[in-house]
């Protein structure tokens, strides 16, 4: 059972997508796992042939448990397995003695999975706020199917949607309890273990936005760029000069990552959030990055995120979007060592040359890990990010 980030400690196998004898290549999707983060597609990390599927659909397994055996090309079926589908090493256990990891697990309500729910049905049920596990299944093998969820939605009262977020009823705004517990456990671990320092820097975003507006005039509706993509690319490019902010802290040691995979915090409509990574963010064109970002947001909300996207982030970016406030003081997502926050773009009086002009500005913030870097370097990073945003044609 792969670890899908610091906040996952078990997963339930929903279905196998390969069978014994099938050949698989690195990156193929072999299974769908239901986790605290919803339905996740599990990828294979080795080329080979599926020898044996050990876990059965419905099995709830701790991270690190063996799910299947894959033997490498050329190996006989009876040879020692090339790879066990425990695809990723489990994260090192939290060294904090005062709150054992088990305590966090106890607090996590674990819904019973008496019967199967198809991934598509689970996604629909999540959208409609229906408890798929409480439905009687009429699909294959008694599984709850899309038709069952649709039938339930017709008989159930329309879910209350708050008129505005401000007035959201606590019940309506609450995410799935497992996701909330997972976020709580990861953030508690972060605050317990990581000595955070915080910096913020307000940047004139007028040149970037004007460049973007001119660029979007040339593009059809579906190809237009969101300014968030400009900011992601700027953060990724700036990180190339600041390796101490990009990587993992594990086993009392920091390992910088050569690749820059930005985790992008995406809010889930039902509440809660998830931060899947866009691989090699710094190497993508803005057009490519926009397509990847749009696809990622869609899959984060309806299901279908991949295991590598949940485990590969080397730093996270969290953006308040245009409904928020000016600044955010984000919490690092372990085992990463930094997180960049981006506030809502606001129009402010700004000194340009010797004049005060109305300009659209954005406040970028950084939370860094003092075990790895200091505020001095963090400050240089935000200053470099601000300078790069004055030259949007370089993005």
């Amino acid at each position: 059972m792969p670890a899908l980030g610091a906040d996952m400690d078990y997963g339930t196998l929903v279905e196998w997508l390969k069978k014994p004898g099938d050949s698989v290549a690195r990156g193929d999707i072999i299974a769908v796992v239901e986790s605290q983060k919803g339905a996740i597609e599990v990828e294979v990390f080795e080329n080979g042939t599926v020898e044996k599927l050990i876990a059965k659909p419905g099995d709830k397994l701790p991270v690190g448990a063996t799910m299947a055996i894959i033997h490498g090309p050329g190996e006989a079926g009876i040879a020692p397995p090339k790879a066990v589908v425990e695809l990723l090493a489990p994260l090192p256990p939290s060294p904090a003695p005062q709150i054992p990891a088990a305590a966090a697990r106890v607090a996590t309500p674990q819904p019973s999975r008496a019967h199967r729910v198809t991934p598509a049905a689970r996604r629909l049920a999540l959208q409609l706020r229906i408890d798929a596990d409480a439905l009687a299944g009429t699909g294959i093998g008694g599984a709850v199917s899309i038709a069952d969820v649709e039938a339930a939605s017709r008989t159930a009262p329309a879910p209350a949607r708050p008129a505005t977020t401000m007035h959201a009823a606590p019940v309506a705004a609450r995410p799935a309890p497992t996701m909330r517990a997972a976020i709580g456990a990861a953030m508690a671990r972060s605050k317990r273990e990581i000595p955070h320092y915080y910096l913020s820097h307000t940047v004139d975003f007028e040149p970037g936005l004007r460049w973007l507006e001119a660029e979007n005039l040339k593009r059809s509706v579906a190809e237009r760029l969101l300014y968030g993509v400009l900011l992601l690319k700027a953060v990724a490019l700036t990180l190339r000069e600041f390796p101490e902010l990009n990587g993992y802290f594990a086993d009392n040691e920091f390992k910088a990552s050569a690749a820059i995979h930005l985790g992008v915090a995406i809010s889930i409509r039902q509440g809660g959030l998830i931060a899947p990574a866009i691989h090699d963010t710094d190497k993508r064109s803005l057009t490519d990055l926009m397509a990847a970002f749009r696809d990622l947001v869609r899959r984060a909300r309806v299901g279908g995120l991949r295991s590598s996207e949940l485990s590969d982030g080397t730093i996270t970016v969290t953006s308040l979007g245009d409904q928020g406030v000016e600044g955010i003081f984000p919490i690092i997502y372990p085992p990463q060592v930094a997180i960049v926050g981006l506030g809502t773009v606001t129009t402010r009086p700004w000194v340009v040359g010797d004049k005060v002009l109305p300009r659209r500005v954005v406040t970028a913030s950084l939370a860094g890990d003092h075990r790895v870097s200091d505020g001095h370097r963090g400050g240089l990073f935000l200053a470099a990010l601000g300078r790069l945003l004055q030259e949007p044609e370089k993005l």
Binding site: T164, V221, G228, G321, Q323
Partner: protein
């Protein structure tokens, strides 16, 4: 297209980004962003949905006109030629 047909198309585009939307309680002249808690990505997908369903070109500068239900219906009617 009649105004009613346009309204159906606009609501469909909204429903695609906010599946739990309750049409009956939607204020026709209030901000859709506030009422439906849509972010910039949702709003872009709503505009793309309108563009694809109604085959109208929508410049970015016109996005504010689509920010309420009535505003969107009026805008679409002007651009598809309503009866």
């Amino acid at each position: 297209m009649t105004k009613d047909e346009i309204k159906v198309a606009v609501l469909q585009a909204l429903k695609a980004v906010a599946p739990e939307m309750d049409e009956a309680s939607l204020e026709p002249n209030a901000s859709l962003r506030d009422q439906l808690d849509v972010d910039s990505m949702d709003f872009l997908n709503y505009v793309i949905g309108l563009h694809e369903a109604l085959k109208i070109d929508i410049p970015e500068a016109d996005y504010p006109k689509l920010s309420t239900l009535d505003g969107a219906i009026t805008y679409v009617a002007e651009h598809v030629g309503a009866k």
